[in-house]
Amino acid sequence: MNKLITIGMLVCGLGVGGWAGYQLGSAGSAGSDEPFSKADAPALTKLVPSLSPGRADVDAAALRVLIREEMTAALARAGSGLPAVPPPGKSGGGPSTSMPAQEVVSPELQAQRREALEQVNALVVQGTWGNEQRMSFQEKLSMLDPQQRDQAMQRFATAINSGSLTVTTDGPPL
């Protein structure tokens, strides 16, 4: 009986302690509208009264400045890889300043992609489309960049639809 009373008291104590802790915690976060002074807030985020007390909202002005700085740096990096003047024999103006930053691709990857595109094109023009061609096409397709992949898909689709590829695959051609 004594044991039962002891266990009961422990359980009650834990329950009351947990409840008290929860109440204190929630009072601390919702009790005041301005929990931190603005001087304490980081540059980009600040705590302001909103629908959810204590929620951090983004300082739009600071975010704009940060994005502008990042974009300027990215454009400068992309621009540095381009020649300052157009190569001889090429007409047109210099590199456009509004050109988006391009993916930096290593020469090795470029070569791999070029090779994959050549192989994909060869598959599409060889006239027969079996399981082997389908598998090979899928493998090469995954190596191409989005623009090359679109070109390859377009070639494939038009070849299938025009009947210039004879399909012998088990199931769909792709």
């Binding site: 989005p146 377009q154 689709a157 639809n161």
Partner: protein
């Protein structure tokens, strides 16, 4: 007398079996139509798979993603004569992707393709009990 009862029971069971499959069924065998600028295909999965007498026709759609920039959807059809039609899209919106994802064995699929690009210009998926 016992035999008669058994035979009658079996006959009744067979008769009632048709009640379990009530409701209409409409066949939509795969048809591929090729035009000068665009082509189209139509058919139901169930008709192609279970109700056709040839071993040629099928129709369906699939989706794929390169995990970087694009989600691809494509639809394929082959009719009983072996004519293929294929289309793809690398910029399908959420609705088109949802339509493709909803294809199942109650579906009939219609799609159109631009002949010069191979891209899907229209995809329709209807899920109906009458396709089963």
């Amino acid at each position: 007398m016992k035999k008669l009862t058994i035979v009658l029971s079996i006959a009744t069971a067979f008769a009632l079996q048709s009640v379990a499959f009530a409701g209409p069924h409409f066949n939509a065998f795969v048809s591929v139509s090729k035009g000068s600028t665009s082509s189209s295909a139509y058919g139901s999965l169930s008709s192609a798979r279970y109700y056709s007498s040839d071993s040629q026709q099928y129709i369906g759609c699939s989706s794929a993603a390169d995990l970087v920039s694009s989600i691809y959807i494509s639809c394929t059809a082959r009719d009983a004569q072996g004519n293929y039609l294929y289309c793809y899209s690398n910029n399908a919106d959420g609705q088109a992707r949802q339509a493709v994802a909803s294809v199942n064995n109650t579906s009939s699929v219609y799609f159109q393709v631009n002949n010069s690009t191979g891209k899907c210009t229209y995809i329709s998926v209807s899920n109906l009990s009458s396709n089963l």
